[in-house]
Symmetry: C2
């Protein structure tokens, strides 16, 4: 029993993402809790920022006309409190004044006395005008924008306390396998601890989803089906199963997906990660189902390859650059043509040393690594000294 065919990783992703619809649910949040969230409304300013003319310098607010021709040799003499006013950076410019002379270009006899102005200024010089930053009626952010710390400060400046954002996708995580025991349970006798579901939950959270780690399901097709349906009933926006996805006698997950929905892909030209399966359950809306291999490295890599973009699309997270370090390969890496291959590497002094290309079951090959060098399917390995992008493991 082998895979009749393996779908190209890029094609599999395209088929999967093409069936995923971003979620529509919205919620209201205080701006200080909204970092990383996606705006569900355009933000139009109801105010001018600044809402008054501000001095951009420490100095004296003046009538620009009064300074015409002023110089060190022939200063303009202005009476403080009448012709000019002392101002500080950021402080309001009095209504009747129209420019600010820098303190360095003045000489004051003292409070209320005469100020010598030694430099001419034109109107609006060193004055921040009303609405210079944001003007009333201006669209400051569009719906779909991902809110950053600086954006929260801007929202606060506009006097906005709460914003409507899209809800985070709820992702059910179902570990399958009769050999699994809950963490804290007794291992031995062939039993092992459930760790893939834990790992996937943490990454789902990192990618902006809300993980719902459901109990372990043994290798039983009916129970697996039942748990998928229960996850749908619980309102999951996506379902991720770990284990039981290969072509062995106990691999019931792809069959269960096909039975309750549509199995799009089973078997992907991804290394590690070949047994991954992708499906859609079309109930009220189209719910993506990802079946991850039980081997931990394959599980992680298939999560990154398919789970991450699916959750980002559901959550409407705009594209941003990957965390990448440029390095040179410290030795040759082999890869199978037609397969997208994730090599684990350790980076030292700008050189990426391959830790392992195979060994889907050896999680320490990942935990000892800094990142992945992802070899494209059209390549047959990479040479020592090749310049590569190392995708940092987060």
């Amino acid at each position: 029993m082998v895979f009749r065919k393996r779908t190209r990783a890029g094609l599999a992703k395209e088929m999967f993402l093409g069936r995923i619809n971003p979620i529509e649910r919205r919620e209201e949040l205080a701006i200080e809790d909204a970092v990383g969230r996606i705006l569900a409304e355009d933000i139009v300013s109801e105010v001018d920022v600044p809402d008054h003319r501000r001095s951009a310098m420490d100095g004296y607010a003046v009538f620009a006309d009064d300074t015409t021709g002023a110089s060190e040799a022939s200063p303009a003499l202005l009476v403080e409190g009448v012709d000019c006013m002392r101002v500080h950076t950021g402080s309001p410019v009095p209504d009747q004044m129209d420019a600010v002379v820098m303190i360095e270009d003045t000489l004051s006899a003292g409070d209320g006395g005469v100020v010598e102005v030694r430099s001419a200024v034109h109107p609006n010089k060193n004055v921040s005008l009303i609405g210079e930053d944001v003007s009333r009626g201006e669209t400051v952010f569009l719906a779909g924008h991902q809110i950053r710390g600086c954006d929260v400060a801007m929202l606060a400046m506009l006097g906005i306390a709460d914003v409507r954002v899209f809800a985070r996708p709820r992702v059910a995580i179902i570990p399958t396998g009769s050999e699994l025991v809950q963490r804290g349970g007794k291992i031995g006798d062939g039993k092992i601890r459930e760790t893939n579901g834990l790992m996937v939950s943490l990454y789902v959270e990192q990618w902006g989803g809300i993980p719902d780690h459901r109990g372990i399901v043994i290798d039983d097709p009916d129970l697996i089906e039942k748990e998928i349906l229960a996850s749908l009933d619980a309102g999951s926006d996506a379902i991720i199963l770990c284990g039981g996805t290969s072509v062995g006698a106990r691999d019931y997950v792809p069959g269960a997906i096909a039975s309750v929905g549509e199995l799009l892909v089973h078997g992907v030209a991804l290394s590690p990660g070949k047994p991954a399966a992708l499906g859609i359950i079309d109930c009220a809306h189209s719910v993506p189902v990802l079946s991850l291999p039980g081997y931990p490295v394959a599980c992680l890599i298939a999560s990154i390859e398919f789970g991450r973009p699916a959750i980002l699309k559901l959550g409407r997270v705009p594209a941003k650059p990957d965390l990448i370090l440029r390095a040179r390969l410290g030795s040759k890496i082999a890869s199978r043509i037609g397969y997208v291959t994730y090599t684990r590497v350790l980076v030292d002094g700008g050189v990426a040393h391959p830790v392992m290309t195979s060994g889907a079951g050896i999680l320490s090959s990942v935990t000892r690594s800094d990142g992945f060098v992802i070899i494209k399917e059209e390549l047959e390995g990479l040479d020592c000294g090749d310049e590569v992008d190392v995708v940092w493991i987060e």
Copy 2:
């Protein structure tokens, strides 16, 4: 009143970081809450992973010797349950067996019957050995390692439920300025909302610190000093002040730092961000104090330039790559030689379009941008078409 001299940005950072000691406080956390945290202990495995020999394939566990010479034409005939045992990927290999034949290379007459083995296997073929991933006594992580999702899965595999990590640095944030009102307060008449402290708090959290946003302090040197001392008493590992750092009559922060500690730098060749000041207060331990400009863009950029590395060093966060997008400049940018200059850019189709190089007070120049092109101090601007790294704004 101008800065007598401005310290080079790189030198200022070096002086500042050189006086910062990583924090020593530790705490114990459940592994599932430890993502992003820094291990304060080496992790040595007390178990073997796997702790039993596992089949790497679906098939039959056999005595390798029994398969010598087996082929399709002349299969070895083994009695199931005696000479061989059906195994699944990941399931234990019975003690008396030493290899696994893939299911594809066998033909079974049915339960308990004779199995035809059509391929020879050598000992340990398709068997994951005890300790293959991690062996008992092996150091799996060193203290100082930043915990990732995959590492949590590894810790769970090792049967570890809690880990000792370094505490997150506590960072006091003190907004100063007589013109400031708390969010929700009444503005107008030259009053503006406090937003810099809010913004800095959000970034401090993002960089791994625990922000302690303290109340607004008016422009009064005694009150500023008092609040710095109160922050020290509250156990702050770092203190960040916003505003009052220039050389105007109302800029009391650098003086207050000098009065209670040591002012290392005042005025930096950083644009925007020139008025920033850096200091250290040496009480029980050396507490860094960062005085940020009141203009929001200058405040943000000086935070990124000095606050971020200070918090990462305090928190012992290992270096990782920046979030960078490579692009070509869509137009020429001017910069002042000797100054590190942050240009805000919007990236579209691989082209970085400068939004603004100056305008330290215009926060919308940042909120409308995707990232910064950071121009080194030895350069005098960049040309249209130059390849640049855009540091993504998070």
